[in-house]
Amino acid sequence: MKKRSKMQVSWDDRVFDIVTWAFLLFFIVIVMYPLYFVVIASFSDPMYVNNGQLVFLPKGITLMGYRRVFMDKRILSGYLNTLIYTGCGTVFGVCVTMLAGYSLSRKDLPGRNIIMMLFVFTMYFSGGMIPMYLVVKSLNLVNTRLLMVLLGSVSVYNIIITRSFLAGNMSDDLLDAARIDGCGNARFFVSIVLPLSKAIVAVIALYIAVVHWNSYFNAMIFMTDEGKYPLQLYLREILLSATTTINTTTETDPEAAMRLQQMGQVIKYGVIVVSTVPIICVYPFVQKYFVKGVMIGSVKG
């Protein structure tokens, strides 16, 4: 098979391949170097990093950054909390998003444009943090894990993406055929739509998981119990040191603040590595569904 397709490669395809490969390689190098820089910087003395003396190899090797991050007991509970929030939040979010996205993708649903409009409206207008706080407080959700799971799980953006994906991929014929077989909406969704839209489920899950993984703001506002802090809030607290503002109009202990800033430099890059590696590991699972989709298609062909 492979041999035959190689022989068929025509002249213009070869040009196309060369151009795209050149583009890809160039882009990969450009992307890879700064990533590599982050990794070697996380092992290096910040003096060399910030003086531009770090080019290809780590310099002044130190594990200070990682030590500082892992020294704290809170990092473990942070990881655990983030895992819980991300896991539950993603399951919840995917369910809500898929259900809503599918309903809105159906052209025979009266009122879908109005609902859509109302949804989209919230992407642009929000009441701000204070009324949000009041609402959360009235629901008695302040300082609860449930809140951390809920907030950020459902986004209109994701619903729109899902809707347009499903609208494009689910043909009306399929629905008509199913209906003739006596298949109701619920069963059609579960047994036809879901299996055919693994790719979009994967994408939405990834989107939601990443939002959860990276979020700290809601936790900062609504959580008072340190034991419930997610990883990112805790890391932010460490990192914030680098931006501590000092002035002399009130007592700020300049020396301590400066020591804090120096510590911030050491751990900055380590923090990136520590907080990113787990979520990056999620991607291969997502990819699996992209490739499978293609393979199913090609088997049929």
């Binding site: 910040p46 910030n50 003086n51 629901l139 506002i221 914030l240 109009t249 430099q265």
Partner: protein, 561 residues
Amino acid sequence: MIKKRELLKKLACAGLTACMLFTMIGCGSGSSDSAPADTTAQKEEAPAEKTDEAPAEEAASEAAPAEETSKEPITFDIAVNKHTHSMCEDFNEQLAFQMAEEATGVHINWIMVPAGSTEKVNAMLTADLPDAFLGLISESQIASSMDSFLDISGMLEQYCPHVLADYATIDGGLDLVTWSDGSVRALMTGVETSYQDESPANLFINKVWLDQLGLEMPTTMDELHDVLIAFRDNDMNGNGDTTDEIPLKTSEANWAAKIINLANSWGIAGYDSGVSSHYFMVKNGVATPTLDTPAFREYLEYMHMLVEEGLMDVESFTETNDQFFAKLKSGVCGVALCFSPYAMMPEEVASQYEPIVKLDVDGYDYVKTGHKNQLIANKSGFAITSACENPERLLEWWDYLSSDRKIKFTMRYGEEGGFWYEGDDGKIYQKTPEGLAEDFTVDNYKYTNGQMGNGTLILKDEVEIITKEDSYSIWFKTNTTEQVWDMMQDEYPPTRLVDSAKLEERTFMETDLFAYIQNFTATSILNGVDDASWDGFLAQLKTLQYYDWIQWYQDYIDGKF
């Protein structure tokens, strides 16, 4: 196929759970509100045990207040700033609060707010007021939300005698915390003054390099120019490269390295480390503009000359604070503007530097940026809110914590004999505490065991003595301050609370005005000034209300509000 069906079932289950989750929120709060209630109940119990265990230190009995009447237990919620260095999980572990609880019966339920959570504080202000804030509220927050805070002026005499006695010793007294309507909404925290910080930024020169070249310490800007040229042209650090030295290092990313400090030589000085404090000076009670003067233009031209000749690092305007630190640390800077070499560099590098005391320019009197006897206490440190039902008890608690020097220091640094001790001469000294480790530095110690800047007010005379042996770096800075002290200004705008309408009036002018001035300054230093750009600058100052801004300060000085 079977697998598929299973998957579908699972998905359906997940969907169902999702719906159930919803009903949970929808139908209420029943399930969730029991949880927080539980935790508060636990918290209320816990301290009772703690106080039993707490060693009844002699200090507690020594400092016990006169009134024993109101000792029945009471609990307050206080939102408190938790410093990044603090490893304390609950401030009730701190000795001062255990002593205070013992003495006054007041138990505090601490709401720990990590540093940098302004948004959280703002949300709390509107939606969830605690009984008090400690170290979280700014003066402008009180000004813009006056009624959220209780007017305690009428209660101080009865419940805070110690606090009042302390304030009576300060220049300005109770007026320092009194608003224009006569109310007092917060009490001071921190220390009254801090001598070593009164001159924030100083020039330091690499004495070793200077000696290598056989040059004298520069005393004028012209001499500095010559020294910088020598630093540029020679391989000062001896690495075989004559180009890696930075003759003059300043940085806009660092609070104490801003280039405006060099305008001191032209008689332009500020009253704190902020750039905008250099934009006017108080002379004989008159707020005098500094930017529209020939002096300012000459300063810009001189700096531009340094840039042209490669004597100054142009990255100063764009670099991050991290880059600034790295450049200083690597020992390539000949002359550096900073807080103190010992705070920025490793000791072996820092020891090469000596302060440049004064750089004269013909026709101008040198004035140093700084503020003699500056009150640096936090005037909005401890603020009781309108949600507090029993402010009298809380004030008593605070008064106990202010009642004598020892309890103040216990609140600030932790127990006696740790970071501080009382010498034979009756003065307080600093010492290095025991039990420090790489993962538990002296900073961790101070912020874990004490409140530092959020402790009760420590007066000028009470401040601990720091010897050369205890902390060379602080001693060095103090010594530098001593040398430049006489050249600092004597007149400053007053330190008085300003109500929100007036404050608003000023800050509205500032965003646009300052952005413009800073941009003009930076581009002029980089690209030069000519008559056209200078005239444009003068015209823009007028349109952007520079003179109205100065008038505001004039009215403030004159006591019009």
